[in-house]
Structures are given as C-alpha cells and as structure tokens.
C-alpha cells in the first residue's frame, strides 16, 4: 500500500492503518499503544567542483507501533503496510514488551495526557518541492562558479536539501494527530590546501548545510552565490594566517558557534532521560540532576535558555511531539539558574511532573526518545560591535570546525574555522586553528554579554545522534553572538 500524497486526519487509509495496529496491539494484551504512520520525501542535490555530484530523490514510508504490556515497553516497525503485516508488527511489539516484562520489576508509569485531535503544517511562503530541480541546480552551479574564481581553493561543494514528512499519530488513549513538516536547507564549503595545511570555510554554517522548517524563501535568504566568493577567499586566507594566540582570554562566539555551544553543553545536558541514566551506555548521562532544579547556578544572570518547539522556523518546531504532547516553551535556565529538563511522559512521571513534549523519533522505524526541540539562548541587550569594543585582549570565533564534550556534558573543547584576534577593543588580524575549552557551568557563568534580537538567528543541526539503534535528529538553536571572560584558548597543531 502506498500512502496518499497528503496524509490527513480525514484520510481514511492512514487512519485505518493506525486503527488496525492499535486494535491488534490491544487484542494481544497491550495496556497502552500508540502508532505512527510516517511518509518522508527528501530531495538532495550536490554540486562539487563544477559537476553535478548528486541528484537524489528518496521516499520512505512505514509504521511504528509502541506498546506497554505489564509495565514494560515494546516497539516494532515495518515498511509493509498491508493489513496482515500491520497486525503482525503490532503483535510483535507486544511480544517484545512481554519478554522485557519478565526481567523488569518496576512498571513504567506515564504522566497524564488528555486526548485530542488536530492538524499542523509548517508555514511556508513557497513550497520547495514546487521549485524545479533545474532551478535548484542552477543556483548551485552559480554558487560553484563564484567559488571557482578564487585561486587556491582545492575542493568546492554546495548542496541543497528539502524534506517533506507526513506524520500521523494515534493512540489507545484517543489521540489522532496529523502533521506535515517541511524543511529547506542549503550551504557551501570551500576547502583550501597547502603543503602542511588544510582549511575549510563554510556558509551559512558547517556540517554541509543550514536548514530550517521553512520553504524556498529560506534558500533565497541565504544568498549562496552572493556569499560564495567571499567565503572561498577566507578559506585561502586561512592557509597563511597566523596561528591562534594561546592563553586565557576573552572569547566572543558568533551566533553559529554559540548555537553549537548551546547544543552540546545545554541541550544534551538538560535531557531528562540522560539524567536518569537511560543513555548511560551510549550517549552518556548529565551533570544536571533533578535535585539541582531551581538551586543550581548554571550560568550568569545574562544566560536564559529555553526549549521552544513553537519557535518560528526551527527544525524542532511542530504541533505535537511523538507522544502527542503539544509543542511548548520550557525554561531550562532562567537568568542563570537551572530550572527545567526536556522530558517525556515516562521520565516526567518519574520526577512528579508532566511531559513538556520533547519525544521525537527519526522516522517510522525508530522509537521516540527525548530529543532537543529548539534549544535557544534567549537574546540579550548587547551587540557584537559593543562586545568587541569592550574587549582588551581576546578572539572572535566563527563557525564550528571541531566539537567534543565528555559523557556528562562538562568538559568541552571546540574549534572554529575562523578566528579574529581582538586587541584594545578592535578586531585586528585573522587567525587559524583556534581551539577553546572549558567546563560547562564555569564557562556559562563567565558570560558577560549576549547580543540582542537584531543579531539573534535560528540555526539547524541535522546530525544530532542519540539512542541505540542510533537516531539522527534535526534540531534547532536560536542564538546570538555572546562573550565569555577568562577562557582557555590555544591553537591546534
């Protein structure tokens, strides 16, 4: 069976699939069951060194069934959507749960949730799937040509990606939720090589592309061809730039690197499943524990962090999470004080709270986990210009190049593609191979400036890994340039 092009609450075929799965699970003994029917289309285009390297169109559809039996979870999924296969999948989920229940002493309890029905669709100005592939390739070819004009660039790569995902969620508690999520992403990388040096500059962000829940307008706004020559020239300039200075100094992060800092040191640290040990064998735990809620100084008073699934255009923006909990905004850190976790119905119940709606699954075949929605550093009142002017000795760091943090999210080291030395309140020379490191709460407590709304941007991370089997999630981060005092900085190599 093939899902209808636009799944809908009123589409009997998708509802029938879900109902059949829920009925089969109940008949097999499930005390609770939910079902997600998901259809995802991805168009990816890449141009590399003047040639079309990839025009790939992909479709992905299937169904996942999650059940509670005797207080234990089971999950099974299949791409076979005929009635008999759906029932087999549901019964297998029940069998898996029953096998787990033989081992488990304590039953899972779920935080309460009122049943509801509804529809959500990502607002877009121009549907990216209605823009021709030819127009998309032309844009990438123009971008490539602009980079090609810069002598010394060894590898040029630019790409676009568009995602449309229909999700239908139903549960034995009476939920029926229909969502269509649309994402548009693009970016470029210029690689320059020398005898013993390799430098990459990316735009608008590293990791291949910048992506938003938005339409083609997001691609227009990036102005890839207009920025390509400048970015390529920066890669070449880095080959002969001085090494980054070493020592303790002031660090100013651009908004893309601030987003990465938020992702690693706040986003993952405030996932309640990590704090409770669910990820201890793989992604790790967290230095933040429930006992610290409301009484731990995470950062300075300028630091307010939220998990906000309602942020416009964020990759973590939706109508409901994959347990049916409505999108919402949660204060994680309020003016420096640790105040909240991202949670699920199971983990929230474990600490006596209600879920704040952050359960997300990587498609139909994977179990929902607590994942970041849009974890944002709320804007402050400063500006990049003001921060630089107020810095006697330091570096302004742009665009992530390297990222590593320990399994409790405390000890981190990041590298950036670009660095600018700051002396006596002025941005002076370009420096390369910059690394900075620290301990999460010490670092955020040293934050003495965050730029205001005019410099605040939403960014997307499309490669956030977690869970076993591993799941890659698209998450959002709103951030603005921010300044930190007395940070350890050194050059790589």
């Amino acid at each position: 069976m093939r899902l209808r092009e636009k799944a809908s609450l009123y589409s009997p075929s998708v509802r029938d699939l879900a109902d059949r799965a829920l009925d089969a699970a109940a008949a097999a003994g499930a005390g609770y069951a939910d079902c997600r029917v998901v259809s995802r289309t991805v168009h990816g285009l890449t141009v590399k060194n003047g040639a079309v390297a990839r025009v790939a169109l992909s479709d992905d559809e299937g169904l996942g069934v999650r059940v509670l039996v005797d207080g234990s979870w089971g999950f099974a999924s299949s791409d076979r959507l005929d009635p008999m296969s759906i029932e087999t999948t549901a019964r297998h989920a029940v069998r898996i749960a029953r096998a787990a229940a033989r081992v488990n002493a304590d039953p899972v309890r779920l935080a309460p949730l009122a049943p509801l029905t509804g529809e959500y669709r990502t607002p877009v100005l121009r549907d990216p799937f209605e823009v021709s592939l030819d127009a998309k390739l032309q844009l990438l070819m123009q971008t490539d040509a602009a980079m090609a004009g810069v002598a010394g660039v060894r590898v040029r790569e630019s790409s676009l990606e568009f995602v449309r995902e229909h999700r239908f969620f139903a549960s034995s508690e009476g939920m029926a939720l229909d969502q269509t999520i649309i994402e548009s992403g693009g970016g470029l990388d210029a690689t320059a090589t020398g005898d013993d040096e390799l430098q990459v500059r990316s735009f608008p962000n590293s990791f291949g592309r910048h992506q938003l829940c938005a339409g083609w307008e997001a691609i227009d706004e990036m102005q890839l061809p207009q920025n390509a020559e400048r970015v390529a020239a920066e890669a070449v300039a880095l080959l002969t730039a001085e090494q980054c200075p070493s020592g303790r100094m002031t660090v100013i992060l651009d908004s893309t690197q601030a987003a990465m800092q938020v992702h690693e040191s706040c986003g993952h640290a405030t996932e309640l499943d990590r704090s409770l040990g669910f990820e201890a064998a793989f992604a790790g735990t967290s230095f933040l524990t429930p006992e610290l809620l409301g009484n731990f100084r995470y950062g300075s008073e300028l630091v307010t962090l939220t998990a906000d699934a309602t942020s416009p255009r964020g990759l973590g923006t939706f109508g409901w999470d994959d347990e049916g909990v409505a999108a919402q905004r949660t204060l994680l850190v309020d003016q420096g004080t640790f105040t909240g976790f991202m949670s699920s119905r199971e983990t929230a119940a474990a600490i006596g709270r209600e879920s704040n709606g952050t359960m997300r699954a990587d498609g139909w075949s994977r179990l929902p986990l607590i994942r970041m929605t849009n974890v944002n550093l709320e804007p402050g009142e400063s500006s990049l210009e003001e921060m630089i002017a107020g810095t006697e000795r330091g570096v302004y760091l742009e665009t992530n190049r390297s990222w590593s943090i320990d399994d409790r999210r405390l000890n981190f080291q990041f590298g950036t593609q670009n660095g600018w030395e700051i002396v006596d309140g002025k941005r002076t020379r370009l420096v390369r191979n910059a690394l900075y490191s620290g301990i999460t709460p010490e670092f955020w407590r040293s934050c003495d400036a965050v730029a205001g709304p005019q410099e605040w941007r939403m960014y997307g991370v499309v490669n956030c890994g977690k869970g076993q089997p591993v799941q890659l999630m698209h998450v959002g981060h709103g951030a603005a340039p921010c300044r930190f005092r007395d940070v350890h900085v050194e050059p790589a190599g």
């Binding site: 169109l57 992909s58 089971g74 787990a100």
Partner: protein, 440 residues
C-alpha cells in the same frame, strides 16, 4: 526475508524499467532487533524491518539517483521512474562508468542462523544474566544486545549480479557503581559467539577497579590503550586518510613510501578475515580486495572505488560506497597486526603511566595532521611500577594519531574486535605507547 534469488530478481525487475543507457540497482532488506537496558531493567526494546531500493541511471553524461525505503506498491517502478526523472533534470557532467563483473565469488560472508532466528525472549534472557551479575555485585548494568540480518543484492547493466546475506550480534555493556563505571563489548556474526558471562565479568571487574577516581595532572603520559580505545584511532585514520579521494584532494596525511609510524605498525583492510564480519563486495558490486595501507610503519596503499581508480588509472580495490558520492571510498574492515606479548605484560612494562579502557566523542582537530580530541571514559587507571594502582578522573586528550602510532613501544599478541562510532569493524591489539597527550 527474501531469498538471495528473490533479491536479485527484484533488482533485475527494477533495472528492466530503466530507459537510460546504463543502470544500477542496489536492493537491501534488513531485520534488526535490539534490547536495551538501564539500571538493571529493560527500558527500550525494538524491532524494525525494511526494504531499501536505490537506483542509479546514466545517460547523456547525466546521472540520476533515487532511493526508496518501503514495501509500497510498485516499489521497483517508482524508484526507477524517480531516478530517470532526476537524470533528466540533471546537467551533463563527468560521469564515472559502471563497473563490469570481476569474477569474484559472493563469499565469504558473516552469517549465522543463530542470529537470524534470535527471539526477543533469547535477548531478554541474555540481558537478564548480565543485569543479575551486576546486581549481585551491588552494581547497575546499562547497555544493549542487538541482532541484525541484512541481505544485499547489486545488479547493473554491465552484468554485475551480486548477492550476500550477513548477520551481526552485538552486546555492549556499561556497569556503574556509586562513583565510577566500566565498559565491555562483544561482537560476533553469531549470537552464540557472544559470551554474556565473560562480558559481565570483564565489565564488573573494570567498574570495581574504577570507583572513586582522583585527578592526575594533565600532560604527556606513557599509556596502554585497550582495543576499545585503539579502535577510535584507526577508524579516524580510515576517515581522514586511507581513501584515494582524500589523496586526490590533498586531504590525506598519507604519503606513499614514507615511514610515518613505528615499524611495528601494520594496518590493513581485510574483508575476508572471519573475525571481521567478512563481506565480499562493495556498494558498486566490485569484489573487495585485501589492502595493506600501513606496512611496518610506511604508507603503502590507498583504498579505491571506481571513480577514484579511473582518475588514477588503476583498478578499484572494491571499497566503494553507493555512487555517486562526495566522500570517496572507505575501508571498513580494519586490522592491526599483533605483537608478541600478552596484554597484561604491556602493563607490567610501564613504570608510571595510564591505562585507557575507552575513548569518547573523538573528533577532528586538524585532519591533515591527524590531530584529534576526545575524552577517556569508563576505566581510566593509573599504572605504577607495572601494576594498575588506582582510578583517575577522565581526561581530555588532544593528540596526533600518526605521532601516537610512531611512539608504539609494544603491542599485544592478543586482539579484540570492536565496532567504531561509524560501525567500522576493527581488530586490534592493546598498544603500549611512549607518549599520549592529555590536555585537561
């Protein structure tokens, strides 16, 4: 699951729909189940099955690719129509030709009926044995036990027709006490090859040794790295340097004929080694050859796919990923030649140093110089006068892999199989290194 013949027939049926001059179809079907546990309790237990079809069509110097996951109506026809659509809308470019049959056999393949027929109850029982052992020691176990069966068929219009079905079982366990943890893992084609009791004993011993760690000053230390840790180093080299594309784009640290590492270090890619999940062909249907990348410390060879081989005027070594791609070929069956002493003797040879069980979050700092950073995790122990004396707090390292492997003093005769972060199978000994740089 489909039989091998059914997989090939599916691929050929899809290829018949192609209108372009040349076509390739990759069909893969996978069933995978995983039982995950935390705090001596099964908290996530999952199963998935899916069919994937990938079509590549070539004509008029244009390439189109389409992928589909799902057993929907007319999957073969849909994926080929999408590929033709992508090709028609693409632009003329230099196109790498499809490979031709090379006469290679569709074996050896890592396959076990025991894994292919594993049940949720079997996995739950094996997990229960581990959690019971941890509980008996007053500890908590966390981890997963997975069983996977994958069938792959590749056909192309040049006559390639390959098919293989493989299995993999993996048990990964972390055991935590009041103030410290241990790690152990075991991987095998057969679920019967996973000795849960041995894994439990190893991880509990490490956990009990690793309680109440105290800090040591960062700096350069003599180290003994377990195979779990060495795996990350070798997988990193594979990513940044063993690929012919990395060489062609001047991104590789490798300089053929130049000795960069200790002459005790030899690293090869061996898809035929029975310990390493053998698999006979790559994603283009080309037979995978055994390639020695580092021969007694000297850069000896790169791995190739069809495009990079054509560029260098050589033959593909059969290390291609699905084409076209911008990543190049990849070595995913890494073997480091062993040394001559038991790993316990490596520790006995250290006056003052650090034993590292596992590395974590290893990332590039400077790819051309193979500098990486990461943390130690779940078993970082001080060695004094040849004995593991006390646990030390986890440390951040920032270190050139090449320089680390140039400082090998000894390597063990015994080896372990571990899977890297990206699933690369790595068979490696314990290493005793003269220097390893811990930075915080």
């Amino acid at each position: 699951m489909r039989t091998g013949d059914e997989m090939l027939a599916f691929g050929e049926a899809a290829m018949q729909r192609a209108r372009s001059d040349a076509a390739e179809v990759i069909v893969s079907e996978e069933t995978s189940e995983l039982t995950r546990f935390a705090a001596n309790r099964i908290h996530q237990s999952v199963a998935e099955r899916a069919l994937r079809v990938r079509a590549r069509v070539i004509g008029d110097s244009r390439v189109g690719v389409a992928e589909l996951r799902g057993e929907g109506e007319d999957a073969a026809g849909r994926v080929m129509r999408s590929a033709e659509q992508a090709r028609a809308l693409s632009q003329p470019s230099a196109v790498s030709p499809l490979p031709a049959p090379d006469g290679g056999a569709d074996e050896p393949v890592a396959f076990s009926e025991h894994t292919a027929t594993a049940t949720p109850e079997q996995r739950a029982d094996m997990v229960a044995a581990v959690t019971a052992a941890a509980a008996a020691a007053g500890l908590n176990a966390y981890g997963s036990l997975s069983t996977t069966t994958s069938s792959t068929a590749i056909v192309n219009s040049n006559g390639i027709r390959r098919q293989a079905t493989s299995t993999q079982s993996s048990m990964v366990v972390v055991v935590r006490g009041d103030d410290g943890a241990g790690y152990a893992a075991s991987h095998s084609a057969s679920l019967g090859g996973i000795d849960g009791a041995a894994v439990a004993a190893e991880v509990i011993e490490t956990c009990e040794r690793n309680q109440h760690a105290t800090a040591v000053e960062p700096g350069d230390y003599e180290v003994v790295l377990s195979p779990y840790a060495v795996t990350d180093l070798l997988e990193h080299l594979s990513w940044v340097g063993f690929s012919a594309l990395a060489k062609q784009e001047q991104r590789s640290f490798m300089r053929l004929g130049e000795r960069l590492m200790s002459d005790t270090v030899s690293v090869l890619d061996d898809c035929k080694d029975p310990a390493l999940f053998p698999f006979p062909f790559d994603a283009e249907g080309v037979s995978t050859k055994v390639v020695t990348m580092i021969d007694r410390g000297t850069c000896a060879a790169f791995v190739y796919d069809t495009p990079t081989a054509a560029s260098d005027g050589v033959t593909s070594t059969g290390h291609g990923l699905p084409q076209p791609n911008t990543w190049g070929p990849y070595a995913r069956h890494l073997v480091m030649r062993p040394g001559g002493v038991a790993h316990a003797e490596l520790i006995a040879g250290v006056r003052r140093g650090i034993y590292v069980t596992r590395l974590w979050y290893v990332r590039d700092v400077h790819p051309l110089r193979t500098i990486i950073t990461g943390m130690t995790r779940e078993g970082t122990l001080l060695i004094e006068d040849g004995v593991l004396t006390r646990p030390v707090r986890d440390l951040r390292f920032t270190q050139s892999v090449v320089e680390a492997l140039d400082s090998v003093l000894q390597m063990s005769s015994d080896r372990r199989l571990e899977l890297g972060e990206d699933g690369t199978a790595v068979l490696t000994p314990w290493l005793h290194l003269a220097r390893f740089s811990f930075t915080s």
